[in-house]
């Protein structure tokens, strides 16, 4: 073997490609790792709670830009260093004023944020800086940083006395739309709070130099005699605080827009923000004013007392804040005075102030600007700016009249009382009234004025409307006038300033003015309250208007109201001494399950109501009219009270153990036709039962016999059959209101019922029908370990025929079992022997076996529904024993045996 011939190829084996590829991959991975390696920065936080190295990300606008690599405790400083590897691409952005903060889930009242961190864990948010100087070490913030002053939008400062519930992130709302937010706050040197706020750029133009900011947080409850004001912005501001803003009207366009850095005052609430200027009013004493008392001008609130202090002369100075819209009152000649309730024995005035509280009012004057005034002791006569005429009414006293009291012509308010004065001799009162131009021609030289009212009633002009502003006039009464048709001066309009006599009431006016006597008959109607009554309300007879209400006053004893009614002369003869008057207040709606019946009078009556009258006997009785009639609330009430109108019929009494859902008005049926109704319910004398008075109409009284039986038809009857279940109720109405039916037993109906006869009320139809049979039947006791689904009234079935019913149940004296009392009615009681078996037939018994198949045992469908007891009597006399007696005791088996069901003894039933 020649070794020189052996030449081994010493080339590189191709297998080395594998490690080469592996190396290339490794090198590539390495390169990638190095080239992608981020920039390591350090952020110092107070706490690293929730930050996990390798997990916690730095997120900017939802994109991860970094990852926490490590967390270390800074030596000694009490903070932690979070080492973060930032994405390489952010390298240029890592500048000094970069802001880092930790986003954690926040659940605070009104705000839930950072929900995403619940699952992903906390993350570090970052906001880019604007600086150019790079940095690698930062101080992290505890909460999101305020928006940078340089960010687009409006950066303003709000000065407040206290922070309230405003906090970082509280919204700034304009018409409930958030336009910005509170960024920061700090205490100022003068103990105030300076709040930095940011308004989004698109809303920045809404903020003007004179815009007012106010705290909308929480609920504002302002209570005073005139009502409670309850104000709340949105729920979120309630919980999270908020700032509202408002630019006074008229300044919206004229004012310049606010600029960055402008400082505004943050008012406590909108009212304060809206207040414009403060005027000072000097007064010798507070005279009922207090902080919060209103300044009212022509019924409109234009300001409020904000402060009351003593001045150097020990007088009182009230500071009143005035709304900007009302700045016109700040003139030298403006007069201020106080309106407060004046209650004395013969005079009640300004009743509205009892409700509203004492208030300030004013009469604007002219002259130069002024903000300091002295209170006027006497109220000024209110100047009326509207066109119209003034008249003077002279009266004995101004009782029941007040400023603003309405003046009515027919039913329309045509003017108001504008001032009072004494006559020169001081004995009488001159009331100045103002009648609007539209109505001024109605006042003739012959017009007769009288007072009405002066009592507290709840009516509007027509009984339809409630106007807070006119409450006072209703409270204070008013003045009415008419023009007598027969007067010579009836066509001559009265000139401005004409004097009239003001009579105390219409009847007094009638006494004094002869012309009025021709107008008609004046009646007085006594009613308990004025509900639904208004001036000028028509009085009708057979729906034809024959008169109207001319006034009202309290009766002398003060308990009733006396209405003055005028019946036109040509109808006066219709009123007789026994005429009956009632209120016909438009619509009567009676709703029941059997339908809704709406009864209306004439349209006019629907709108304003009316008073109707009738003569019960159909024609007027001879004799002069009475001076005072009773006014009934409704026709129904009148018929109850007036014996002549009472419907005729028969009244009988029913005695029952209790009143099963009956009430007066519950119907009484005969063959499901309503023939009467329950008129009264009362306890019997011994208190053990209920006595029900039933009225049967005249038409049906012959149906009721002395042996009729009454039964309760309230509630539902459930009838079950194979074809389904029928739920029966005599009428839906009786289901709700209860009802009574009666039957006449047998052919022989007995003598007709007598007025006042007493009957028994049976619990149901069956009981009533079989009352005699039940009486003649036997009462037995069934013993059962449990009650099962047996109920009172459950049927006892013999060959599926109802022969009796369960009358009750109780626990045995030793509580070991249940005693079910049952009644087997005659003649079926003859079937029951001592050996008779009873078993529970309630429900369905299903027995299933592999060989026997399925067997379903039921008695009747009815027993499935209501429960029931079946019975069987053995055929052999030996087994059945003697006949059962009252009080016989039996065992109630849970189930019947098949053999029992086959028993068919022949028993003669007594007829």
């Amino acid at each position: 073997m020649n070794s020189s011939e052996i030449k081994k190829k010493r080339g590189v084996s191709p297998i080395w490609i594998l490690p080469a590829i592996a190396l290339i991959i490794g090198a590539w991975l390495l390169y990638k790792a190095i080239s992608e390696a981020g920039v390591e920065i350090v952020v110092h936080f107070k706490s690293a709670e929730g930050i996990t190295p390798g997990k916690t990300k730095v997120i900017y606008k939802g994109i991860p830009v970094g990852l926490v690599k490590d967390v270390r405790v800074d030596p000694g400083v009490g903070s932690v260093s979070v080492i973060i590897e930032m994405d390489k691409r952010t390298k240029d952005k890592l500048v000094e004023d970069l802001k880092f903060w930790v986003v954690r889930p926040e659940f605070s009242a009104g705000k839930i944020s950072g929900l995403d961190t619940l699952l992903s864990g906390v993350y570090i948010a970052v906001r880019p800086g604007t600086s150019k100087r790079p940095a690698r070490e930062f101080v992290g913030l505890e909460s999101p940083p305020p928006i940078a002053e340089t960010a687009p939008g409006l950066h303003i400062k709000l000065k407040a006395d206290a922070l309230g519930s405003i906090r970082r992130g509280s919204g700034i709302f304009y018409r409930n739309i958030q336009i910005g937010s509170v960024q920061e706050y700090r205490l100022t040197k003068d103990q105030g709070v300076l709040i930095s706020a940011y308004i989004e750029p698109e809303y920045a133009p809404l903020v003007k130099k004179n815009t007012r900011f106010y705290d909308t947080s929480g609920i504002t409850v302002k209570g005073s005699l005139s009502g409670i004001k309850f104000h709340m912005e949105s729920l979120s501001t309630l919980l999270y605080g908020g700032v509202g803003l408002y630019t006074p009207k008229g300044d919206v366009t004229s004012s310049k827009p606010a600029q960055n850095g402008d400082v505004f005052v943050l008012y406590k609430d909108r009212d304060e923000a809206e207040a414009w200027d403060t005027i000072r009013i000097h007064m010798p004493s507070a005279m009922g004013l207090s902080v919060g008392s209103k300044l009212v001008f022509r019924g409109v609130e234009i300001g409020a007392v904000s402060q009351m202090v003593f001045d150097e002369k020990k007088r009182i100075t009230a500071f009143v804040q005035i709304q900007p819209e009302a700045s016109f009152i700040m003139r030298e000649d403006t007069k201020f005075w106080i309106v407060r309730p004046q209650v004395s024995i013969n005079r009640i005035a300004n009743l509205e102030t009892v409700i509203k509280g004492t208030y300030l009012t004013c009469r604007p004057g002219s002259g130069g600007y002024a903000d300091e005034f002295t209170i006027q002791q006497q109220p000024e006569v209110v100047e009326i700016l509207r066109p119209g005429k003034r008249f003077i009414l002279v009266t004995e006293d101004a009782e029941s009249l007040s400023l603003g009291a309405p003046v009515f012509y027919k039913k329309i308010q045509v003017g108001e009382v504008v001032g009072f004065d004494l006559t020169p001799d001081g004995t009488r009162v001159k009331a100045q009234i103002f009648v609007e131009k539209k109505y001024e021609k109605l006042v003739k030289r012959s017009s007769v004025f009288w007072k009405y009212g002066g009592i507290s009633v709840k009516v509007g002009w027509n009984g339809l409307k409630f106007r807070a502003g006119t409450m006072a006039s209703i409270l204070a009464g008013g003045i009415a006038f008419i023009n007598p048709e027969t007067s010579a001066d009836k066509d001559i309009p009265a000139s401005n300033g004409t004097k009239f006599t003001l009579y105390d009431s219409y009847s007094k006016a009638v006494d004094e003015v002869p012309d009025l006597k021709d107008r008609g008959l004046v009646l007085r109607l006594r009613t308990e309250d004025l509900e639904g009554i208004s001036m000028g309300m028509p009085i009708t007879y057979k729906h034809i208007q024959v008169g109207e209400v001319a006034g009202y006053e309290l009766s002398k004893d003060g308990e009733d109201v006396l209405l003055e009614a005028v019946i036109k002369k040509k109808f006066a003869h219709l009123v007789g001494p026994d005429s009956i008057f009632w209120k016909n207040s438009g619509i009567t709606v009676k709703a029941g399950l059997d339908g809704i019946s709406i009864k209306t009078g004439p349209v006019k009556a629907i709108m304003a109501g009316e008073i109707a009258f009738m003569n019960p006997t159909g024609h007027k009785k001879a004799g002069p009219p009475k001076s005072i009639y009773s006014l009934f609330d409704s026709y129904e009430e009148a018929t109850q009270e007036v014996p002549v109108l009472k419907p005729s019929g028969l009244h009988v009494k029913l005695v029952a153990k209790d009143s099963p859902g009956l009430s007066p008005g519950s119907p009484v049926y005969y063959k499901r036709i309503k023939v009467g109704e329950v008129t009264g319910l009362d306890l019997t004398e011994d208190g053990k039962g209920v006595e029900i008075t039933v009225f049967i109409g005249e038409k049906y009284r012959h149906l009721l016999r002395s042996n009729s039986r009454f039964y309760n038809v309230s509630g539902l009857t459930v009838e079950a059959a194979l074809g389904g279940v029928k739920v029966k109720s005599t009428s839906l109405k009786s289901l709700v209101t209860g009802g009574i039916g009666f039957i006449n037993h047998g052919q022989d109906s007995g003598p007709p019922a007598q007025e006042g006869a007493t009957y028994t009320l049976y619990s149901d139809y069956e009981t009533a029908l079989y009352a005699d049979e039940i009486e003649n039947g036997i009462d037995i006791i069934l013993k059962s370990p449990t009650l099962g689904s047996i109920k009172k009234g459950a049927p006892i079935l013999y060959k599926q025929i109802v022969v009796g019913s369960v009358s009750g149940y109780e626990l045995a004296p030793d509580a070991s079992e249940v005693l079910i009392h049952a009644n087997i009615r005659a003649p079926y009681s003859a079937i029951v022997f001592e050996g008779t078996r009873f078993w529970n037939a309630s429900g369905i018994h299903v027995r299933a076996g592999i060989f026997s198949g399925v067997r379903v045992d039921t008695e009747t469908m009815e027993t499935i529904m209501t429960g029931g007891i079946a019975m069987a009597t053995p055929e052999s006399p030996k087994e059945r024993g003697p006949r059962a007696k009252n009080g016989s005791e039996f065992t109630l088996f849970p189930q019947g045996k098949d053999e029992w069901k086959k028993w068919s003894p022949k028993i003669d039933l007594p007829q």
Partner: protein, 210 residues
């Protein structure tokens, strides 16, 4: 040395090679030395006294495995999306997770199958290769046993990959939760395959050659 010659020294045991014999590795027929490189007359497989280029090939596979072992362990092997939260974990993350959770059994299984075994395989084969090339003649019996062990457990290193493959198929709930294999899995598969090939290409008889 000619075939049929008896060994000269007693401390040098007679081997088939010395005796001029070749064993067909497929059907275990003993053939004369002259058949080297030819086909076995019984089963038709090529017969060699020693697998040609075995050392070089094994070295190549082992080095490949060693290089791939680095990214396989450093890169995430599995990615879990849980309610939109993406979490990638390397093999060691998983092991640490199980240990922290107290599931030491599973942790040990994964640690063994995914880290210790590949490591052991690479180091073991390198050791054997070095023994052959540097003629380390001690512990030959143990080294042989070790090699057979390496051959046997090679397939079990795929456990991790199986687990990931299974999870990827099973945990597939849309936005709720998803598991996918991450880049590291590829490299890890490479490691396992390379070590298996390294074990296959190595002719364990070389250990015993002088």
């Amino acid at each position: 040395m000619s075939p049929g010659e008896l060994p000269q020294q007693n401390d040098q045991p007679l081997t088939a090679r010395k005796a001029g014999l070749i064993l067909c590795l497929d059907c275990h027929k003993v053939l004369p030395k002259e058949m080297e490189g030819e086909h076995c007359p019984r089963c038709g497989a090529r017969v060699y006294s020693r697998v040609p280029n075995s050392i070089v090939k094994t070295w190549a596979w082992v080095i490949t495995a060693a290089i791939l072992f680095i990214p396989a362990n450093l890169l995430p092997i599995m990615q879990v999306d849980y309610l939109g939260r993406i979490e990638q974990s390397t093999i060691m993350d998983g092991i640490i997770y199980f240990f922290q959770e107290g599931s030491y059994g599973i942790g040990i299984v994964i640690l063994t199958a995914s880290v210790l075994v590949p490591c052991f395989k690479i180091i073991g084969i390198v050791l054997i290769l070095l023994s052959v090339q540097l003629h380390w003649k001690s512990w030959l019996r143990h080294k042989t046993a070790m090699f057979h062990f390496i051959e046997f457990i090679g397939r079990w290193s795929m456990l991790d990959i199986f687990v990931i493959a299974l999870l990827q198929v099973l945990v597939h709930f849309g936005n709720l939760s998803n598991i996918t294999a991450a880049r590291g899995a590829t490299y890890f598969t490479g490691v396992v395959i390379a070590t298996m090939f390294a074990a296959i290409t190595f002719d364990v008889r070389l250990l015993w050659d002088d």
